[in-house]
Subunit: 342 residues, 3 copies
């Protein structure tokens, strides 16, 4: 797609300075700009690039004061970064105009599809499934029997959702994510083998949740594994059976939450964090990358690190000494020698 | 599905107390029950809920003594938990009555299918593949050339199995699992690049193995990567080329076992454990979550934790002091000052 | 396939000792050989097996001196290991003669396919995609709109590549890998919720890259996530938005590289390593398994371990004392008691 500076200014309620007819067809960082690209300037650290950028059009804040001439056409807006993000959203929404039911998909006759649904090639929608309005189901997606998908949700290519799952409105699920596989539950037998415990619960994902590529969310043994509204899960995350992730909690890649654990609201977890089963994490808790949490955390808004997890400041103080342990040991040995002599 | 209390009692050889005609169509924890639900009472901690539960039917042990009246219809059985699990298995087996070869699947003409096989839409079965009796192949599964699948095995939607793999009877493989991708083997070249070492071995999975969602099991360089009977693998696990996992070993999510390592029988590994290549883990070893094992563990049934792994008790004693390291250092510095003065 | 010793010797420019007409149809380690198998002897540690192997044909080095009679037919070559690898490559290339466009695939009319392309059943190739010569696209692969794939690249079953991605020549991408899902970027809002930042960049994968099963490489927010030529990624790895992995760097399974981090050339990372965002790793750095790197590493070719990462030797010296911490603490307490008394 190609837009003139004027067209963009109109979309953003901005004011053009320079040639309103110059056209852009891509975006670029201001320091990496090229002719035909749109950039923005928001962070003062990058101000100098406004005078040298090769981009054809740059969004800048209303109150930015130029100190030299610029080559680019400028569009002045209240908040250049916000306007840029808004523009991208509009463009990417426009690009995603996928519609219609592909003839090489399979939709079972008892499934119900809302208005303006897109079902890509080789997608499968099971018996009794209910798909909301304006849902986009990319090629090779699998939706099991009786699963319900809310309005405006996007399932990218190859997402697998087992039977009986409930997914809310305006969710985004990325390729390879698996929702509703069996929880990991086995009863040990006398002979050392394990008997599978049937996993007959489900998964409930509320509105505005994003699930990253190849993330897995297991169904509950009984009851539900629950992802509350606004949760953002990165790639390759494991959410085990009967876990609950609180509203607006954000979790980075490769983290695992074990069974029946309840994570609070507005938490932030780094990558590769591990959280044990059957515990509770208070609201607003922050866990640094690779932290391992064996027990419940009851203090809200605390920052933890390490395995087993410690409050971040305590860990740092101990770790400083850990790095000096050979010297500390030498000191103690020297003192012992002195005392023995004395 | 809907069952009367009487029908359930008949299936479980139990005895009804109360209305035998009340119907249930779902299951619930006893403390979360609702009309139309079936619950069980096994753990004495939950005994109080028998008097207040909203569930319509509750399984209880023969020897449970009521202290008040109850609203629910009771079914008395020898072991309420076991009966409940058995009932779930029967119901879920009944629900899974998927059969037939979908017209939009592709089965190469030289593949052989056993009796009562289900092949879902958009599944692919390669040249020379052999599929046992009563196998369920969900939509979008890929089975490579000459791969063999035993009787009663279930492959959920989107499982990918490369060519020449052998999978046993009564296995369950969850969505997104990849069996038989190339082992990670490269020969360093003079110029700093790497030459791929062809991976021409295979994977052997024995009977009664469960493989979790998005878990990967690589083919051997030569010979076989082997998963022994009764092994249970959770989600997002990595089993590298030429590894062997012993009978009835259970491994939690996101654990990795590197190449050519041999894990014993009846081991239990927590989540996010890492095990180096070319080592041996004795039978019955337990590894806590996030443990990193660089060397062989020869003592059977020991519990390890930490990176590098230490016996659990030793680690705990050291970790207690780690948390006090700033104070310890202060003490030593103080002693040094005293001695210098003295 | 079946080959005579003579045919193999011809392919490898080797010299037969023994029966040139003996046939082999498989390969085996020399110590596990069986009639009909081909083995090689390269490592002197295994020399003794040449006298007892059951394999029918063995490749050995020109300069190997026999001390006894052997049963196997020998083929003498300059470098037995290299010849063996070369032979396997030739055979596996011959086996992979997949060709043609399957009638149950979907190739959009504006996509362009090079010569000798294989497109398997239920694969999808989007609008404006460009596929190079001799590319192999296995069943159930998804290639998004306007994505470009170089010559001789192999995409195994179920690979998912989003729109607008560029993949080089002679790459191998294993099943379940997801290339180009949205980077994990959200702007916090006043009410505690998060607003998605559109991810409009792409992924560039250069030539000769191998990507393991279920690995995820996210698209850039703007600009590109870049995997330089010759990089080898194992299974279940996470490469976040705007990261760059340098030429010939090798990364083991379950490692994660966070957003905007730049990894140098010729690095080697063990499994389950975690690398923070917005940092730089120098060329040739080696990271042991499970290492966590919070800050840039500027010294090339150094070896690091631990979380937070330390130079390997420093860590080892500290860890030795960590294991003795209970005794060290006892010593210090004893000294304190002595001093207090004194």
């Amino acid at each position: 797609m190609e837009f003139t500076a004027k067209a963009i200014a109109d979309m953003l309620h901005g004011v053009v300075e320079g040639n309103p007819d110059v056209k852009v067809s891509t975006v670029a960082k201001i320091e990496e700009g090229s002719p035909g690209a749109l950039s923005f300037l928001s962070n003062p650290k990058y101000s100098k690039y406004i005078y040298t950028t090769q981009s054809s059009v740059v969004l800048i804040n209303n109150d930015f004061v130029l100190e030299q001439n610029v080559n680019a056409t400028l569009i002045r807006v209240k908040d250049a970064y916000e306007s840029f993000a808004k523009l991208l959203s509009m463009v990417s929404a426009a690009q995603e105009r996928k519609v219609g039911i592909h003839s090489q998909s399979v939709v079972e006759s008892s499934a119900k599809l809302g208005e303006d649904v897109y079902v890509g090639a080789m997608a499968y929608i099971g018996h009794g499934a209910k798909i909301g309005k304006n849902v986009k189901i990319y090629p090779q997606v699998y939706i099991g029997d009786n699963t319900v998908i809310g309005d405006n949700t996007v399932l990218y290519a190859g997402v697998k959702i087992y039977q009986g799952i409930a997914i809310g409105n305006s969710c985004i699920i990325h390729s390879g994510a698996v929702i509703g596989a069996d929880g990991f539950g086995f009863a040990p037998q006398q002979d050392g083998s394990y008997q599978k415990i049937p996993q007959i619960g489900n998964v409930i994902i509320e509105d505005n949740v994003e699930v990253g590529a190849n993330t897995t969310i297991d169904r509950a043994t009984m009851g539900s594994t629950i992802i509350r509204k606004g949760v953002k899960l990165d790639n390759l995350i494991q959410i085990a059976h009967n876990a609950e992730i609180g509203t607006n909690t954000v979790i980075a890649a490769q983290t695992g939450v074990a069974g029946s654990t309840k994570v609070g609201e507005n938490c932030m977890f780094g990558g590769q964090v591990g959280i044990s089963g059957h515990i509770t994490i208070a609201n607003g808790v922050k866990l640094s990358a690779q932290t391992g949490v064996p027990n419940s955390i009851k203090e809200p808004n605390e920052v933890f690190i390490g395995t087993p997890a410690m409050p971040s400041r305590k860990f740092s103080r101990s770790f400083v000494v850990f790095k000096q342990l050979p010297e500390l040991k030498r000191d103690v040995d020297e003192i012992k020698r002195l005392i023995d002599k004395g």
